[in-house]
């Protein structure tokens, strides 16, 4: 099962196993990793599952398609960066084993 590392804004890292096919958001929620709220449950409707993708993984994960629902939600999320993504929109696959994401200071 792919391992994903979530790093809280205060630097605390949580490495957990997430089944293929789940979203990066669900991996955090199912393991009670703090820092991802996911108010809408993964419907791409709240932007409270915002993460920064580690530089080493940005090519593999990619950025949201311009004009997409995710891009428009992100344009108003708190403290966005060029490497911002909504974690409910990233599906875990075998080749994401080792993925590292960082959490913003807050989701609201």
């Amino acid at each position: 099962m792919p391992k994903i590392t979530y790093i809280e804004h205060n630097g605390t890292a949580h490495t957990v196993q997430v089944p293929v096919g789940k979203s990066v958001m669900q991996g955090a929620i199912n393991n009670n990793v703090p820092g991802i709220d996911a108010d809408c449950g993964g419907e791409c409707a709240c932007a409270t599952c915002h993460v920064y993708i580690d530089a080493a993984w940005l090519d593999r994960i990619g950025l949201p398609v311009p004009g997409s629902q995710e891009a428009s939600m992100l344009s108003f999320a708190a403290v966005t960066q060029p490497d911002s993504r909504l974690s409910c929109q990233i599906e875990v696959a075998d080749d994401l084993d080792g993925l590292v994401v960082r959490m913003p200071e807050g989701q609201h």
């Binding site: 108010d39 409707a45 428009s72 939600m73 344009s75 999320a77 609201h108």
Partner: protein, 410 residues
């Protein structure tokens, strides 16, 4: 007192109660947590019950708030199929339906709301359904065979979503609404019209200004909805979606301040400092609007769960959020931010006929109080920020699509 020896009891294992338990652990609570719910399954999300779940696009696993393994792993004692039947504030105990009594140091009431029932002849016939729990959704789903006729009593969000899901499953649907328009209590007339027309276009029949007089039946099963004007609308199942009532009786009996919900402050505290209340069962301050009110939404349940967990763990309170809500019908996503108190005009941004627009509700001085967005997430997100910042805008500027939402919200 050492934190480790204190016991938190959470009454009600729904969206708010389940989230509070998880957040307490996230915030480092070391003491015991007991989460008590009267349903037979661990906390789950209700929104899909009228949407993806009903249409067969969600599984029990995807409905669950957390996997079942989470509770033992987080040492949260989950007691299912168990009702809290009384609160003794002096002894600090709750009585359970199995006759046990459980002592608490801190009690969180997360009792939710229940579907309002119709005090009408025939309301207890088989096939007269409500939609609040997963068990309700199973019954409704079983009734929605292709070609079956569903009568939806009440044109609110749940009724409209159920009608949309019925159509997706090949069933017939008719919505029967007492007011002159659907969504009468929760949306503005432009939005009501838009949804009315959209549902009609999808083959849903709609009766407005229609009083239901009784449910007709044969052999104990519903066969039709009888209206005040004498007409009977034939159906194979009737869904009653006429609002929800806060489960505040336990709190009221225990002498906690209540009034359309358990009265709480912005730290989710009730009138007893050892008791918190969160979610649909509360009447809460709406600081942005200098009012109080009862909200029935997942974001509210989560916000209050966070307030209670932060209070109990001695963490800073989260900043108050703009209330928000969503609803999915067909391929329409409605997102609403804020509440349209004291508003005098509506600015339309986008194209209503094209099904992609947002309605901004303004007070006399141009303060944006609420935004209703249909397939317009940018407007919703920008609107939320504008409301949070108490920004004032003119109708003309909002309607001007050459001004981006980013500029409007700046």
């Amino acid at each position: 007192m050492n934190q480790d020896s204190r016991h938190i009891v959470i009454a009600g294992a729904g969206h708010a109660g389940g989230s509070a338990a998880a957040m307490l652990r996230q915030m480092g609570w070391q003491g015991a947590i007991t989460l008590i719910g009267d349903e037979p399954i661990p906390p789950y999300q209700r929104p899909p019950l009228s949407k993806a779940w009903l249409q067969g696009e969600a599984t029990a696993e995807s409905l669950a708030l957390r996997p079942a393994t989470f509770y033992p792993e987080a040492t949260i004692a989950l007691r299912l199929a168990t009702r809290v039947t009384g609160i003794d504030r002096t002894a600090k105990t709750v009585a359970l339906s199995n006759g046990e009594s459980l002592s608490y140091d801190v009690l969180i009431l997360a009792l939710g709301a229940r579907a309002r029932r119709l005090p009408l002849p025939g309301a207890d016939l088989d096939g007269v359904l409500e939609l609040r729990s997963a068990a309700d959704a199973d019954r409704l789903k079983a009734a929605l065979q292709p070609g079956a006729r569903l009568a939806v009593i009440g044109g609110g969000y749940i009724g409209l979503e159920a009608a949309a899901s019925a159509r997706a499953l090949g069933a017939e649907a008719i919505i029967i609404e007492r007011e002159s328009r659907v969504l009468a209590r929760v949306a503005c007339p432009i939005l009501s019209d838009f949804f009315h027309n959209f549902h009609r276009g999808q083959g849903v029949a709609i009766e407005v200004d229609a009083q239901v007089a009784a449910l007709d039946g044969a052999n104990g099963r519903v066969t039709g909805v009888r209206l005040g004007d004498g007409r009977s609308i034939p159906c194979d199942a009737a869904l009653v979606g006429v609002g929800a009532i806060a489960n505040d009786e336990l709190a009221a009996e225990a002498g906690l301040a209540c009034g359309n919900g358990i009265v709480v402050d912005l730290a989710a505290r009730t009138s007893d400092p050892a008791i918190f209340a969160i979610g649909d069962c509360t009447s809460r301050p709406l600081p942005l609007y200098e009012r109080t009110g009862r909200l029935e939404s997942v974001p509210n349940a989560l916000e209050q769960a966070k307030q209670a967990a932060a209070s109990i763990c001695g963490k800073p309170q989260p900043a108050p959020e703009v209330p928000w809500f969503w609803s999915d019908q067909y391929d329409l996503r409605l997102q609403i931010a804020g509440m349209p108190f004291d508003t005098t005009e509506i600015a339309v941004r986008g194209d209503v006929d094209a099904g992609k627009f947002a309605l901004f509700h303004l007070t006399e001085d141009g303060t944006v109080q609420a935004v209703e967005a249909v397939n317009a997430s940018t407007e919703f997100m920008g609107g939320r920020r504008i409301i949070q910042r108490r920004k004032r805008l003119t109708r003309a500027r909002i309607a001007d699509m050459s001004v981006s939402m980013q500029e409007l919200a700046a």
